[in-house]
Structure formats: C-alpha cells, structure tokens
C-alpha cells in the first residue's frame, strides 16, 4: 500500500535576525522568518500563493557577507546567516524604490503604500513635475473588470497567476523591454479579443488595484466605494460541485466583489468566471 507522501523531513534552520536568534523550518524565506518574528517588511510583488519574480525590490534586507541587498521574499534562510532588516542601507533602498514607484505610477489604491512612504520618508515629488509617469486612461473594454495601466508596477503577479503558476491560460504577458515594458494581451488588443477567460485570478493577486472589478471601479468613480462599510463573508459557490469557497464583499446589502481565501484547500485563492462574477442573479431584486 502506498503511504501518504510526507515529503522530506524539514529541519529547523538557525540564524540571526537583527541580532536575535531565529529558528525557521528548512526552506523558509527570510520574509517568512521576519513575519514569524513579528517584523514588518513591506512587500509588493510577493504573494502568498505565488513564487515571486523579485521585481519590486521593496523587501530588501542586508545579509552579512553579501555584496548586494537581498530580497527577503525569495532568499531562503540558511544556517548561521546574519540578517539585518532595518539598516540604514536597507531603509535607504526601500525609500528610493518607493520614490521611483510612486513618482511613476498611481499608488493611491495600493494598501499600505501611504504608510510606507511616510515611514521611509520617501519623497516621490523630488523628481519634479516632469518625472516620467505612466499616464493612461483606464481600459474599460468589458463589463467584468478594468485595467488601469497608470497603477501598474510591473510586478508580474498577474502574468504568473494567468500563466503556469495557476490558471494556465496565458492570456497576458510582459511585452516590450525596459521603459516600454508593459503587461499586455497578444497584439495589445481589447480583452474581449484575447484568450482571457475572465477568471479574475489576476485581480486576486494584483497589489496596486491596476486590475479591479468593474463594480469597484465604478463605485470608486462615483465616490461610493467605502471599505469601512463592507463586510466579508466566506461561503460556498453556487455553481458546479467543486465547492469553491467565496468571500463575498458586501456593501449596503450589495455584493461588490468576490475573492477566495488564499489558504483554502479547494481554491488556493483561485476562482472561475462564474464564481468570481456570477453573483448578480441574487441581487436582481426588482
């Protein structure tokens, strides 16, 4: 009889984190260790369901003996390592990264961005009014979700969620290089002419609100979006028998968006078009 695979036993790795002894299971990242120790490290391109692409560099920390700063989200903890998260060098690097990002794109809907800018005393305005910015009108080409390139930090999370890490639809990719790099569907067409299947798993992982539900986009435009008045209730999808868990975000008794718990054994945070967007029937009330 085949045994249940338990995997290779994981040892505990001991290393020094900001002068304190830290012990984490083998394979953990420095970020995992920081979070376990209650240390705040900002992250953007890291996602709990994804393997990070190390694109944003906002989580960098100093490792003794390493010439460059290392991204905490990817670097595995090693025995005997000496890690410092809050050195002048690390803080300065985060500050510059935040300044560059905030001067080039709109971080107004990035949770926590304002707090980090304040904490690291970043001054995005210092590049002056002529700083290069991604100024683009949001693309509204379907009734389900909106792409706002003015908020995109090219973190690759949507590409990974759409591609081989989860959805395997490969509707979007990074096109162009350098300053011309952008997330696009083939030939930069409207979504409705692309391979997109509208699962919304890219919205689920987008850290800045560059991808958003049309419902959220419209309510923000109308000034009625108010997260403090929203409740999140986790229930089970009403369509097929797979049993995906849905978190219904409700404001004034209207479902305004749908997410899924990232640690759920059925979905791992992913849904299909029906689960993500097919809720309107319950609120066709008159």
């Amino acid at each position: 009889m085949t045994a249940i695979p338990l995997g290779v036993p994981r040892r505990l790795v001991e290393f020094t984190l900001d002068g304190q002894e830290a012990r984490v299971p083998e394979g953990s990242t420095i970020l995992d260790a920081c979070r376990a120790a209650g240390k705040e490290v900002p992250t953007l391109c890291q996602g709990d369901t994804l393997t990070p692409k190390n694109a944003c560099r906002v989580c960098v920390v100093e490792v003794e003996g390493s010439r460059t700063l290392v991204p905490a989200c990817s670097r595995k903890a090693e025995p005997g390592m000496e890690v410092r998260t809050d050195t002048e060098r690390a803080r300065h690097s985060r500050k510059v990264v935040l300044e560059l990002l905030a001067s080039s794109v709109d971080l107004s809907t990035t949770p926590e961005a304002a707090g980090w800018i304040k904490e690291y005393e970043a001054k995005p305005d210092r590049f002056g009014p002529d700083a290069a910015r991604v100024e683009e009108e949001p693309r509204v080409d379907n009734d389900l979700y909106v792409r706002d390139y003015g908020k995109c930090i090219l973190c690759y999370k949507c590409v990974d969620a759409c591609g081989d890490q989860w959805q395997n639809t490969f509707a979007i990719s990074v096109s162009g290089r350098g300053f011309d790099a952008r997330i696009a569907v083939e030939h930069d067409a409207p979504l409705t002419d692309s391979a997109c299947v509208y699962c919304g798993n890219c919205i689920e992982v987008c850290p800045t609100g560059a991808l958003s539900f049309k419902s959220e986009f419209d309510m923000r435009a109308a000034g009625t979006w108010d997260e403090s008045r929203q409740t999140g209730t986790t229930t089970v999808c009403a369509y097929c028998g797979v049993g995906c868990n849905l978190t219904l975000h409700v404001q004034d008794n209207e479902i305004v968006k749908v997410t899924s718990p990232h640690d759920n054994p059925v979905t791992h945070g992913n849904l299909c078009i029906k689960g993500r967007f097919g809720y309107q029937h319950v609120q066709n009330r008159d």
């Binding site: 009889m1 085949t2 009403a238 028998g241 797979v242 049993g243 640690d263 299909c272 029937h281």
Partner: protein, 641 residues
C-alpha cells in the same frame, strides 16, 4: 462573427408569494398565510400521491428537512432531486461496487498522481478549479489522457486524446481491461483479495480485442493500448468522469465499466489512486447524503435496513415506509398514469432541465396541485398553483454544502433576502405545523446537530470544526480525529474481517445509444456545458459575460460545408421528438457527424426538445448525451440575422 443582438431573459427575484385562483387565472400576490394555507390544503388532499423535488443547490440542512417533510409529514419516500438528471449513475455504480456513493479521492491527491484519465469530462470548462489541481498534477509529471468524442479544451492538455464515438464507452473500457489482462498487468494480489467476479469479467471482455474496439469506438488500437498500459503500469492513477459517462440510457453500466478498470489494477483505496466523479451542482453530493433520494435515509443509510429505519422512526416519532420511493424519472411517469397528483418542487426547474421538455411540461400541467419554492419565477414556477419566494441558499442562509470530494463546508449568510422571501427551512416547518407536525429548529445548526446524531459519517463535524478545518470530508465519525482523504483503504487490509465486503466486477454489456442515426437523422447530437454559463441559465444569465454568445448548434467545418451553412446562419435542428431553430457555430473540436449544443439558453433555443427521454433503468438518468438530429437549411425568406 460579431455578437448577435440578444436580449436574453434575465430573471428578477421573487419577493412575495403568488397564488392563482384557478388554473387559467393569472398569478396574484398573496400573503404568506394564504399561500401556506392553500399549499397545506393542496398537499393534504394528495396524501399518498405526493412527490417532493428537493434542491441540489440548497444546503444540507434544507435537504434534510425537505426529505423529513416527505417521509414524516407526507408519509412517502418519493423524494429526489436533479442528481437524477446527472450523476445518479455514479452514485448507483459506486455504491454497488464499494457500498458508498461518493468519489473515492480528494482534489489534492490528483496533484500527486502519475496518470490521470479524464473520461467524458470537459473539466477545463465545467469544473475549472478542479482542473487547476489536474494542471498541478500534470506539471508535477503526471500524464493525462482525455477520452471524449470532442477534442475539448481539457483534451488540449492531454498526452493523448481518445476521440471515441458517442456511446461506445463500454467497448473502450472493456478493450482496455482485456489489454491489461493479456499484457499481464493485472494487480493479481488486489484482485484476489479485494474483488469478486474476475473470471466472469475476464470472459466478458475477451471478445473486445483492440481491433474490434477500434472498429466500434473509432479510436486507433494503438491509442487504446497506450492508455491501457499507462493506467495499469502507473504507481498511482486517477480515473475521473463527468456526465459524458452518466447521461446515457445505460449510465450506471458505463460507471461500472470504469470501476472495473480500477479493480483490475488496484487503483482505488490508496493515496493518489482513485475514482473521481465530478459533480455538477454545488450540493448534489450533499442532497443525496442527506436522504433527499428515494432509497436512502440521511447519512446514505439504506431504507430497507430495519435497524436503520428503527433508529429514524424513534428519532422522528413516525413510521417509515419499508420500501424505496419513486425517483424523479419515475415520479414523472407516475404523473402520466395519474398515481402522482401533487408535487412540491424546491429550487428545481424540471420544465426546462428534463429531457424531452415538452413532455415534462405537459405532465406538470396535469397535476392537481403544484407548489414551487424558488428564488425566481422559473418556467416551472409559471406552471404552479402556489409560488413561495425563498432565499438563495449560498448567499442568504446559513448551513453547509458537500462538494465532489465529500468535503462538507460552511455556507454563510452574507446578504439580506429581498422582500418577503423566507428561508426554505422556515417555510417547510410552517407547512409541517399546518399539517400537524410541530418542528422547532432554532437555526441551521440545530438541524445539522439532529443530522449528526443520526448519521455516523457526519457525527464528528460540528460547525466549529468545519470552520476550523475549512471543511471536513466524510466519513468523519469522531469529533477528535480526521479520516484519510481517500475512501476504501479497507480493501488493502490484510485482515479479511477488516477488509469487509469485496468489490464485485460489474458484468455489463455494450448497448449503443437508443436514438440511432440513420439517413433521416444522420448527425449525432451531444450536449454539455460552456465555461461561463450554467444549466438552464437562470443564475448565469444574470451577469454580463464577455464570452457569452448565446445558444448555437456547433458543427465541424466539414459538416458545415456539406450542409452549406455558415457561422451565424439560422438553421432548423430536428430530432425524432421536436425541432428548434438555432444559429450555426463552427468548432474544429468536433468531427464529421457530431454536433454539440448546451441547454444554457432554453428561452432562446430549447435544446431539450431534441433530447431523448431514454432512461437508465437503474439510476433513471436520461440519455442527454446522444440524440440523432438533422440540420435543415431555412428558406432564405426566413433567414434572420
């Protein structure tokens, strides 16, 4: 093709009860008291000729109370749900082999298996999040084989696509079985210890040589052989199926033929090896588990077992009929001969979901009394004497549902229901009270705890534990421990006593589809789902999917050319039962002589006017997957764009 101008019917919520004063009169608004009084009167008059259609979309708790209503208040086992139109053969086949009707594996296991067979299942469209687990498995090195008449988007991920002719699943399975036997790849120890009937099975499949199978199924012998060897040689293998197996007039036989392969190779009862029927409704598994089927009491306990009956009789203070009730299909037949006079239909839409829908509507119209409890005024509700507005199970009530991997999960109330809509359980209890049974449930959890006390498989699942573990899979007899993620590990136990009942090979014969193709009806029509739509479209019609283009009859390019039709052109699609007008769509996934339609847009194109009500004699599921049709070009004058 530009999108057609469509004004699809969208349904708005029912907000107050509706009654009509005579069959011809229109609906008028009524108070709850009046509607419930009328319902009680209608049901009281039909005692002994009553049927309950319970709801595979509603919670376990609601299904528990609904079947209790049928059995205790109405004194009948005539209770069933739409599981009959889809996966009843899976339940019948699995319980005949293993004594339990659930899928044997978990989603997670498919990520750690070596060979995956997707048989009659376009999970990429119909079960997209399950398919993500399949994709993980493929990325972990598993080889996937797709057995399906259409080269679906599931098949695009396959190592090999076996495009068999519709309704030749048994020849294919038997040929695989024969090849496994002849190649010496049978798991002899397992067959010896855990199964019965191997010699008979061996004789049964002996005629099905690869070359005969190639002739009957249309699949090259080499491809069948490759699948047989891959499946039998794998350390672990998963066999998954959906309605391509079950929606046939011999659906249960099809399921048995697949189960045979797992018995032959020992691919059941181990981590990563198992059988996985993918269920089509959020709670079709749970509805059956809760006893909303005519032959089982809650906890999938057999009604014919006197001890089981005694337990329920003392708990419910009633007498339970010691025989099976009528299933959905039989209830419709009983309407025809007049022995079923009243129906209580909760959340189902049989006027559009049954095969041969014109016949279904005629039968519903002939009832003395029909009460429909739903969130919308569906086509079925339009036929009712009383319509009771209910809450939407998944977003407006508390409770639980059970998914395809037997995982019971909490459903929670997130929004307030509209108008006077009430929870199903409250409505049922009010009606029970009017009919002399005073049931008091403080909330859904109280119902659940009553079920737990009666069903050993659910006993360990308190609401608290369900929340803590994000759902628990049955069986869960203990409040302390969790069982393995797979079923039937007992079959591998060295101790014969603990090994329990051996699994019998199913001795099933090939029987081609009832609706034969001929010169007059030369095309085989098969049906299925699309990614963004669902069943009769009552729910999924409510949101604006950019993928949706309405109903169409899909043909392969060769057939489109042969009949001289182009994309978007309206044609008449005729079967021996009826005809519909539908636009043409061309899909290269199809083959000459094979057409595809869905039943998502019955208000535009009522596909079920074409389908045949040829039912599986064991499970009662109709042969939605195989009708014979022809395509008629319309005269130019009526060519609508």
């Amino acid at each position: 093709m530009r999108k057609r101008d469509r004004s699809p019917k969208t349904y708005t919520r029912l907000t107050h009860p509706l009654v009509r004063d005579s069959r011809d009169a229109p609906f008028r608004r009524a108070t709850w008291d009046e509607a419930l009084d009328r319902t009680a009167r209608g049901l009281r008059a039909a005692r002994g000729a009553f049927g309950m259609f319970s709801c595979a979309r509603a919670t376990n708790e609601m299904n528990y109370v609904a079947q209790k209503f049928a059995r205790v208040v109405m004194g009948t086992n005539n209770v069933d749900s739409c599981n009959r139109t889809c996966h009843a053969p899976s339940v019948a086949g699995l319980s005949a082999a293993f004594g339990s009707g659930g899928g044997t594996s978990s989603y997670e296991e498919i990520e750690h298996t070596d060979v995956i067979v997707m048989w009659g299942s376009n999970a990429r469209f119909a079960h997209p999040i399950f398919f993500q687990h399949v994709l993980k498995g493929i990325r972990n090195g598993a080889r996937m084989y797709a057995v399906d008449p259409r080269r679906t988007s599931t098949a695009e991920w396959a190592e090999s696509w076996l495009g068999l002719n519709v309704g030749t699943d048994i020849p294919m399975a038997h040929a695989i079985g024969r090849e496994i036997i002849h190649a010496g790849l049978v798991n002899e120890a397992f067959v010896e210890r855990a199964t019965t009937g191997f010699e008979e099975y061996k004789a049964l499949v002996e005629p099905w040589t690869l070359s005969l199978a190639e002739k009957v199924t249309g699949v090259p012998a080499a491809a069948i052989r490759e699948l047989a060897h891959a499946y039998a040689r794998a350390e672990r293998a998963q066999l998954c199926w959906t309605l391509g197996i079950t929606e046939h007039h011999n659906g249960t036989d099809n399921v048995r033929a697949l189960i045979n392969l797992s018995l032959l190779t020992g691919h059941v009862g181990r981590y990563g090896s198992g059988l996985q029927p993918l269920r089509g409704q959020n709670n079709v598994q749970g509805g059956g588990d809760m006893g909303a089927i005519p032959n089982r009491l809650p906890g999938f306990q057999d009604i014919l077992d006197p001890d089981t009956r005694l337990k329920f009789e003392s708990a419910w203070d009633t007498v339970i009929r010691p025989h099976y009730g009528l299933n959905l299909t039989e209830m419709f037949e009983a309407m025809e001969d007049g022995s079923l006079r009243a129906v209580y239909c909760i959340g189902e839409n049989p006027a559009q979901s049954e095969a041969d829908s014109e016949q279904a509507v005629r039968r519903l119209k002939a009832l003395d009394f029909l009460v429909v409890q739903d969130i919308f005024l569906t086509q079925t509700a339009e036929l009712a004497d009383v319509v009771l507005p209910a809450t939407a199970g998944w977003a407006e009530t508390d409770g639980t549902t059970t998914n395809s991997e037997r995982r019971v999960q909490r459903v929670r109330r997130a929004v307030t229901p509209p108008g006077e809509a009430r929870e199903d359980i409250d409505i049922l209890c009010d009606l029970a009270a009017r009919l002399g049974h005073d049931w008091k449930y403080a909330d859904a959890e109280a119902v659940w705890n009553e079920l737990r006390s009666l069903s050993p498989d659910h006993y360990g699942m308190t609401y608290e534990r369900l929340a803590e573990h994000q759902g628990i899979q049955w069986p869960c007899p203990s409040t302390e421990a969790l069982e393995p993620t797979y079923l039937h590990g007992r079959l591998w136990d060295p101790d014969p006593a603990r090994r329990g009942m051996r699994a019998p090979f199913g001795i099933v014969l090939h029987d081609p589809p009832v609706d034969l193709t001929d010169e007059e009806y030369p095309i085989r029509l098969t049906t299925g789902r699309r990614l963004d739509s669902y069943n009769t479209g009552v729910q999924s019609g409510g949101y604006a999917s950019p993928l949706r283009r309405g109903e169409a009859v899909e043909l392969c390019p060769e057939d489109a050319e042969r009949y001289g039709v182009v994309v978007g052109e309206q044609v008449r699609v005729a079967s021996r039962r009826g005809s519909v007008v539908a636009p043409v769509w061309v899909d290269t996934a199809l083959r000459p002589g094979l057409a595809f339609m869905t039943f998502h847009f019955p208000d535009e194109v009522d596909t079920n006017r074409l389908t045949i009500e040829a039912n599986c004699p064991i499970a009662g599921t109709a042969e939605f997957k195989a009708s014979a049709i022809r395509i008629e070009k319309l005269p130019a004058a009526t060519h609508v764009r």
